[in-house]
Symmetry: C2
Subunit: 181 residues, 2 copies
């Protein structure tokens, strides 16, 4: 881990503790000795799954995204629960959101979604061993999603239309494209 140009905290002010995010503002000392303020969002981290069916379709969910005031088509994803391993979250979110399950998840990559102001780390997995659950478990009570099964070409079309328009899903489609699927 590199700490180049480290900004040491002089004073930390908690602003808000929420269900999904916390916000605090830190006064920090800069490498030139001056001070500035950094607005910091704490997030528990997230997972997403590139899930491919036997028919070579990719599973997506469409849901309303309040910050954008519109719905997006995304790969299945969710927040990591406290103390949960990301693979466990990934399998659970796949089951809850799509009604499919899998025995096998392979790690693809991870990335900080927005390191300038947030610590959210996104973990992406892939599986081509999904199977429909006989007794789907359903979503969280405040989550409403539609499941879509699309070919890669159909998904690329939704990128063009900006109905697919988020970091993890855009990455996933480029990843499958690069694999030559």
């Amino acid at each position: 881990m590199t700490k180049k140009f480290e900004e040491k905290t002089i004073h930390s002010t908690p602003i808000y503790e929420g269900k999904v995010v916390d916000l605090r503002v830190d006064e920090v000392s800069l490498p030139n000795g001056k001070t500035t303020k950094r607005e910091l969002i704490k997030h528990p981290g997230a997972v997403a799954v590139i899930a491919i069916t036997k028919e070579n379709k990719i599973l997506f969910v469409e849901q309303y995204r309040k910050p954008l005031e519109k719905s997006l088509v995304e790969i299945p994803a969710g927040k990591v629960e406290h103390g949960e391993a990301p693979e466990v979250t990934a399998k659970r979110e796949l089951e809850e959101e799509t009604g499919y399950t899998t025995g096998e998840l392979s790690f693809v990559t991870s990335f900080y979604t927005s390191p300038g102001f947030a610590d959210e780390l996104m973990h992406i997995y892939i599986t081509d061993e999904v199977e429909k659950m006989e007794e789907p478990i359903g979503s969280d009570e405040d989550e409403f999603v539609d499941v879509l099964e699309l070919t890669l070409d159909e998904a690329k079309e939704l990128v063009e239309q900006e109905r697919i328009h988020d970091a993890k899903t855009t990455y996933a489609i480029l990843y499958l494209h690069a694999l030559g699927r």
Copy 2:
């Protein structure tokens, strides 16, 4: 624009207005008639540039990321200033952060970095026409960055080491890989 499963705002509570982000909490009505709360970060949007030199090196900047308490190696990027076209921001950030300029930027893609809680839209551009500025203009006074010029293979090595570990840069490297550069 699709509004499937729209969540209408019943009441909006502003929590914080910052330099980079605003936070508010909305009480919303769900498709089943129940209500819930959504924590919403407003962000002005951002740009990033995949900048390639005549020697076929990619330009990166290393900087401290306070939310992560470590430094990351990223492609040059920055916040869109109020009223500024993203291409203009992209050229300005390239100049300020790297001391290189370009006459030509091509649009690669855009994505919402974290649509579950934030409206930040990232625009990515590419240029292989960069030139060193004779009189570099320097960075913002609270920004400290080191410039790195790397081959694609060297950049992939930093992905392995997690020194490159953010959404836009991970996407950029996969994009160049897929292009067969």
